[in-house]
């Protein structure tokens, strides 16, 4: 390790970084705001998705056999489902149990003792891993023999799935716009430092510096801008999370909010990564544009 080289390089980066403090602060601030918005957005999206998937995960398909369904037909369905990777659990409810269940659920309002025979068919409760596959699995079951009704809360599933899709699409657009704005501002900051140092850069080139050598300090500057901005953002987000979350829970008691669906460290890592990445890309582009001419 050549410490002289490292020292020289860090000196260059520091000199660039401190030369244009006002502009540097602007770039960092923009990244911070961008990342705060991005982080808040990701957090809300994850919470909503968690909410949605909580509901979705409780959805089950109720399969009613016809009254004349044979045991063989029932077994056929059971084994088909057991081999279907989308299916999580299958619970068989014989008609007798179904009656007991009905009795329990209606709290005796329906007096089942008046029935001379059990009117309920055999039933199967099917749960799937991915709520999105509910309609397909239901359709597949309908095609089997001995099947009467196949029901699931169709509109709930469809609406929630739709909502998830819309959220995801809006999210992508919003994130793209944020990143673009932050990238443009960092790139302008770097362009100013490049401009301030254009004489130095041309002299570097005349004595034989490679593009990479000239680029490195600027890339580092962009990286620092990006990381500093996203660190500030992470601090702000963490503060907001701990101050606002309890209030949110109180304000929306009927919503089963679940903060644990957001993986804190992973989110922080992602935000830092995104911040550093736009810094590097933006400075790479603006130095490259200068070197080409």
């Amino acid at each position: 390790m050549d410490w002289g080289k490292v020292k020289f390089f860090l000196g260059e980066v520091l000199r660039n970084f401190t030369r244009n403090a006002g502009m540097q602060a602007t770039a960092i601030g923009t990244v911070a705001i961008t990342i705060i918005l991005l982080g808040a957005f990701l957090f809300v999206r994850a919470t909503l998705a968690g909410l949605g998937s909580d509901i979705l995960n409780q959805i089950e398909i109720s399969v009613y056999f016809t009254n004349d369904a044979t045991t063989a037909q029932e077994d056929a369905l059971r084994s088909t489902l057991a081999h279907d990777p989308r299916v999580a659990t299958v619970q068989f409810v014989p008609r007798k149990e179904g009656l007991a269940e009905l009795r329990a659920r209606t709290n005796g309002v329906i007096d089942t003792s008046l029935l001379t025979e059990n009117p309920l068919p055999d039933k199967m409760r099917v749960r799937v891993h991915d709520p999105a596959s509910v309609p397909n699995v239901a359709a597949k079951i309908r095609k089997m023999k001995g099947i009467g009704n196949v029901v699931y809360p169709q509109t709930v599933v469809e609406r929630l799935l739709q909502l998830g899709g819309v959220l995801r699409r809006i999210g992508l657009v919003v994130i793209a716009v944020f990143l673009l704005v932050a990238g443009i501002i960092i790139s302008n900051t770097i362009r100013l430092t490049v401009f301030a140092r254009r004489r130095e850069i041309s002299i570097m080139q005349l004595v034989g510096a490679t593009h990479m050598y000239i680029r490195a300090p600027f890339i580092c500057e962009g990286l620092l801008d990006g990381l500093a901005g996203s660190l500030i953002a992470v601090a702000v987000l963490a503060g907001a999370r701990y101050m606002l979350w309890p209030k949110l829970l109180l304000a929306l008691p009927w919503v089963q909010l679940n903060a644990s669906v957001v993986n804190g460290p992973v989110l922080v890592g992602q935000l830092l990564l995104v911040g550093g990445f736009i810094g590097v890309i933006a400075s790479w582009i603006s130095v490259g544009r200068h070197l080409r001419t």
Binding site: D2, K5, I203, M204, L206, V207, G208, A209, H211, Y213
Partner: protein
């Protein structure tokens, strides 16, 4: 070392700086480039390290076809040459020491090597005692000597000097020219563009004379003025 064949250079503004110039300079040669101001001496030197691209013709430096050289290969070319620029091109915010070290740093030299070579180069040009000063705190001659030290520090095979004594007093001039001679004796090819008549006349080296972008004479042991010694009157 240098081979220039039918090179013409027309700047974008239409100025024809070089007109069908051909010139061969061998390894280890010492060549003066003379001619009136604006006849294309600097332009010719700039072609050799590809700061400028010729409009037509072929340029070969140390076996490299400079006119065809890809952009990415230019740094490697420049590292093998030392250039003393007419306007010095020193970095104002770096000290003398740093300005010289800088030329080594860009080549990726190890800092141990830099610590060894920079003081040597500064010592050669007699600037060791001012190594911590900034160019703005130096006289014109001292800046010029800093530029020379920077050109020498990488031990180039080819040294291009554009008016290297323009700001030096006679004794400094003599010292620098002796330094260039010593470097030349060690095998470095040296090309000096100059207006300094005394230097050219005293050293009696090869003299290439440019006029309006054309080479008009090329003498093995020439004088600054054409036909000196045949009774021609000197002026300016």
């Amino acid at each position: 070392m240098i081979s220039i064949r039918s090179v013409s250079l027309i700047y974008p503004n239409g100025v024809r700086a070089l007109d069908n110039v051909s010139l061969e300079i061998g390894k280890g040669d010492f060549v003066f480039l003379v001619g009136h101001s604006g006849t294309g001496k600097s332009s010719l030197l700039r072609l050799l390290y590809k700061e400028t691209v010729p409009t037509s013709g072929e340029i070969t430096v140390d076996g490299i076809r400079v006119d065809r050289l890809k952009r990415g290969r230019i740094p490697a070319l420049r590292r093998h040459l030392g250039v003393v620029f007419q306007d010095f091109k020193l970095l104002a915010e770096k000290t003398v020491w740093e300005n010289v070290a800088f030329a080594m740093q860009v080549t990726g030299a190890h800092s141990k090597e830099i610590m060894r070579e920079v003081p040597r180069a500064l010592d050669l040009v007699g600037l060791s005692h001012k190594s911590r000063m900034f160019p703005g705190e130096l006289s014109g001659g001292e800046q010029q000597r800093t530029a020379i030290a920077r050109a020498l520090v990488n031990h180039p095979k080819l040294l291009l000097c554009d008016e290297p004594t323009g700001n030096l007093d006679p004794s400094n001039t003599t010292e620098i020219m002796e330094l260039l001679l010593r470097i030349n004796l060690k095998g470095t090819t040296v090309v000096v563009a100059t207006h300094n008549q005394a230097v050219v006349d005293r050293m009696r080296r090869r003299v290439v004379r440019l006029e309006d972008g054309k080479i008009v004479t090329d003498e093995e042991r020439g004088y600054y003025y054409l036909g000196l010694g045949q009774g021609q009157v000197l002026s300016g």
